[in-house]
Amino acid sequence: MMNEQNSASPSRWPNRWGKLLASVSFVLIFFGGLVTTTVAGMAVPDWPRTYGYNMFLYPFYDWFFGPWDLFVEHGHRLLGTSAGILAILLVIATFRATRSTTMRRFSVALLALVIFQGVLGGIRVLRDDRLVANLHGLVGPAFFALVVAFCTLSSRWYSQNVVRAERRQADFGRAGLFRWAVVLLVLCYLQLAVGSLLRHVDVTISPRGFPHLVYTHLALGIFLMLATGLYWLRTGMLANTGLRWQIHALALAIIVQVVLGLITWVMKYGFPWWLDQYLFAARFVVPDKTMQQTLLVTAHMAMGSAILGLWTLHVVRFHCLRTKFSTATSPRAEAAAEPMPLGT
């Protein structure tokens, strides 16, 4: 049976394409963030063409060495298209590698989502609409998180190591912790949604709403930080290598993210007035659209997606472990429960 499974030699391609897609999506999200941060969304008025050119035929020199706004907007489009192509390859690889309807549908859903996202981006440009911009900014991270989930489900870790490595652990099946992880994942996405609203303000709206959004974002941020910290403490009980590194990474990332969030505020709106009894605050001038501001603000936004991806990875792995345990009588779990050589 061992040999049987080894000789089936699981195709690595869905996972490889998945990982590449995840990386490209992350860069894509960063570029999307740059577009919003520098208000470059309307730098190319037409879509799907770029100044009348087919997107891929737009002169490289004019793009790469052109004005910043054109550089980020057109770059974002090129990256978006690459993500679409990768998603197609992912679907092909998945259909060749597995008969699992779940995974096949998952890959098709990813492709559908990336197309949907591309069309949203187009509508955003053609209609210059804030609501669509918001939606576009929210589908991006969701797509990234789903690609991460796909990678996890198609990974070697999932198919081989899981039960062997974790069998000894009795603790990780604790429902309480898992539920926490799911709640935090959802809240994290909610936080991204609020952040997206903060970034896409419409000049016509009344100023009354914005402070509420700011406080919500702040409160949720503090809550997420504390809750992630608690989660990190609690998971000391999970001597589980397959889960632990993500928790460490999350704890670190959320601290970085809170700091980046504060920096973002200062970079855009200056220090709060009650700090002006300190020289550093009193003399600070908001440096608008400088590289420093652009990168820091965009880093905050991209870090949000990274944290969402980490939570997704964690939750999916956690879920896999739990279901494997709770369905220990299922044929697959039994099969996998047979001793397995390490390092296959």
């Binding site: 499974q5 089936a8 699981p10 195709s11 690595r12 869905p14 996972n15 208000v39 309307m42 730098a43 008025p45 100044y51 052109g66 004005p67 706004d69 060749r96 597995t98 008969r99 699992s100 779940t102 995974m103 549908r105 998952f106 859903a109 559908a112 949203l120 509508i123 209609r127 210059d128 609409d129 804030r130 609501l131 669509v132 939606l135 489900l153 999932y158 081989q160 303000v201 000049v203 016509t204 009344s206 100023p207 914005f210 700011v214 200056g270 220090f271 002006d276 009193a282 003399r283 001038v285 908001v286 608008d288 400088t290 879920h319 896999c320 279901t323 369905t327 697959r332 039994e334 099969a335």
Partner: protein
């Protein structure tokens, strides 16, 4: 048992892992299509916007001039809206009430080419080389589409972003009630205002900076004219301000009406434009305060400095009475309660009391921002929002800071002002005088 292993290339997850994919595919697709349809059909693009009327000003005038509860006759509203739309156009299609005469000096006030570049939705042309909609791109989130200082993020900032519609600016080289020069505005936009949310825009190309300067002037003049029009119509008793020629939907119709208004020498509107608001913007360059020669004693390194600063100190605590607001760093001081002119403009209305929120409710509903005290500058830091050069400090002390309690020093001689400059500069040095 082997036969039960699913024939998959890799170990596929059980349905429990991603249950929603399997069961609700149809629902997901329907949701996606619904969102797409809703977004394509439903939302309002950022084009075709209109300038909001200055409701706060109108409410204030009604409180001052009318019996309680009485509101302005709607026909006057229509007239003011029509006149404003014709004189100044819309956020996307700006216009300006230049007089019919091409030679007129009013034409120097601003260039409509500049205004057109700064107006409208954010866009680029010429392969991204020309940016349009600069004001909405860089400024409107704080200063608001009409320049009312009440953009979407305004409430989170202190001080609030400038409301341009009063025509008052703080950091300028001209005396009170004289508008700032182009160089003053450009300096503020280029370098920002430390300690406030007003950013520096170091990367703006010069022509974009010039366009934004002109757009600030445009919004400011537009706001001043509107205020005076409301004042005018609240004085009328039934007779029309102007006869509106039907609907003014198109830019051409508005232009025709604008030409008619500006060439009618007897109308109240031309009086407001050409006798009141615009002349001040033409004269401002002639009315710049001359700083004269800077005495050596204001330089910190100078041997004269301590004498200057000591004299300045006498003035600061005595004749000039700066101490009533600023105190001397390190010494206990009472902070007087002050509001700036943008707040005082409406909180002085009869029946309004800054301490009782209820009395301000109607104004806040009309768009006024809740009053916030203005704090005199902390002079312990060598940070000056209008610039720390000797000339800048001289101008601040001589002319005061428009719109704020900081007074102009009419009774002080030039030397005394320079002595105050030296003293102000000595304060951050920790009493070295």
């Amino acid at each position: 048992m082997q036969t039960k292993i699913p024939k998959t290339g890799f170990d596929a997850p059980t349905a429990t892992v991603v249950p929603c994919c399997r069961q609700y595919t149809g629902a997901w697709i329907a949701l996606a299509i619904a969102i797409l349809v809703a977004t394509v059909a439903g939302c309002r693009p950022s084009r075709g916007l209109e300038f909001a009327a200055n409701e706060v000003e109108l409410l204030k005038l009604e409180r001052y001039k009318f019996a309680p509860g009485q509101r302005l006759d709607p026909s006057y509203r229509e007239q003011v809206d029509a006149v404003m739309a014709s004189l100044f156009g819309t956020p996307d299609e700006p216009a300006f009430p230049f007089p019919a005469n091409d030679e007129s000096s009013f034409r120097q006030i601003l260039s409509m080419e500049h205004v057109a570049v700064a107006a409208g939705p954010v866009a680029s042309v010429d392969d991204g080389k020309t940016n349009l909609g600069l004001y909405r791109k860089h400024c409107a989130n704080c200063h608001g589409l009409v320049g009312d200082g009440a953009g979407p993020v305004a409430l989170t900032l202190n001080p609030y972003p400038r409301d341009f519609r009063l025509g008052k600016f703080k950091f300028k080289s001209t005396p009170l009630r004289v508008p700032p020069t182009d160089a003053d505005l450009a300096k503020i936009i280029r370098h920002g205002i430390p300690g406030t949310a007003m950013p520096a825009f170091p990367g703006l190309p010069p022509h974009e900076l010039a366009a934004l300067v002109d757009y600030v002037k445009y919004l400011s003049i537009r706001g001043e004219v509107e205020r005076r029009l409301w004042d005018e119509v609240t004085n009328l008793n039934g007779e029309p301000l102007v006869e509106i020629p039907g609907k003014l939907q198109t830019a051409e119709a508005r232009e025709a009406f604008r030409k008619r208004i500006v060439s009618d020498p007897n109308s109240a509107v031309t009086a407001i434009l050409f006798d009141d608001v615009l002349p001040r913007w033409v004269e401002r360059d002639q009315r710049v305060t001359q700083v004269g020669e800077i005495p050596a004693g204001v330089a910190v390194e100078s041997s004269e400095f301590s004498r200057f600063a000591a004299n300045g100190r006498e003035l600061f605590v005595g004749k000039a009475n700066c101490i009533q607001c600023h105190g001397i760093p390190g010494q206990a001081a009472t902070q007087p309660v002050h509001y700036d002119d943008w707040t005082n403009d409406w909180v002085k209305t009869p029946g309004v009391d800054v301490l009782i929120r209820k009395t301000m409710r109607d104004f806040i509903r009309a768009g006024a921002l809740p009053p916030r005290q203005i704090r005199p500058r902390n002079l312990a830091f060598p940070v000056y929002r209008g610039g720390g050069e000797a000339e800048a400090l001289y101008l601040r002390i001589k002319n005061g800071i428009e719109g704020t309690p900081m007074p102009s020093s009419v009774s002080l001689s030039d030397t005394e002002i320079w002595e105050l400059v030296a003293f102000v500069r000595s304060l951050p040095l920790g009493g070295k005088q």
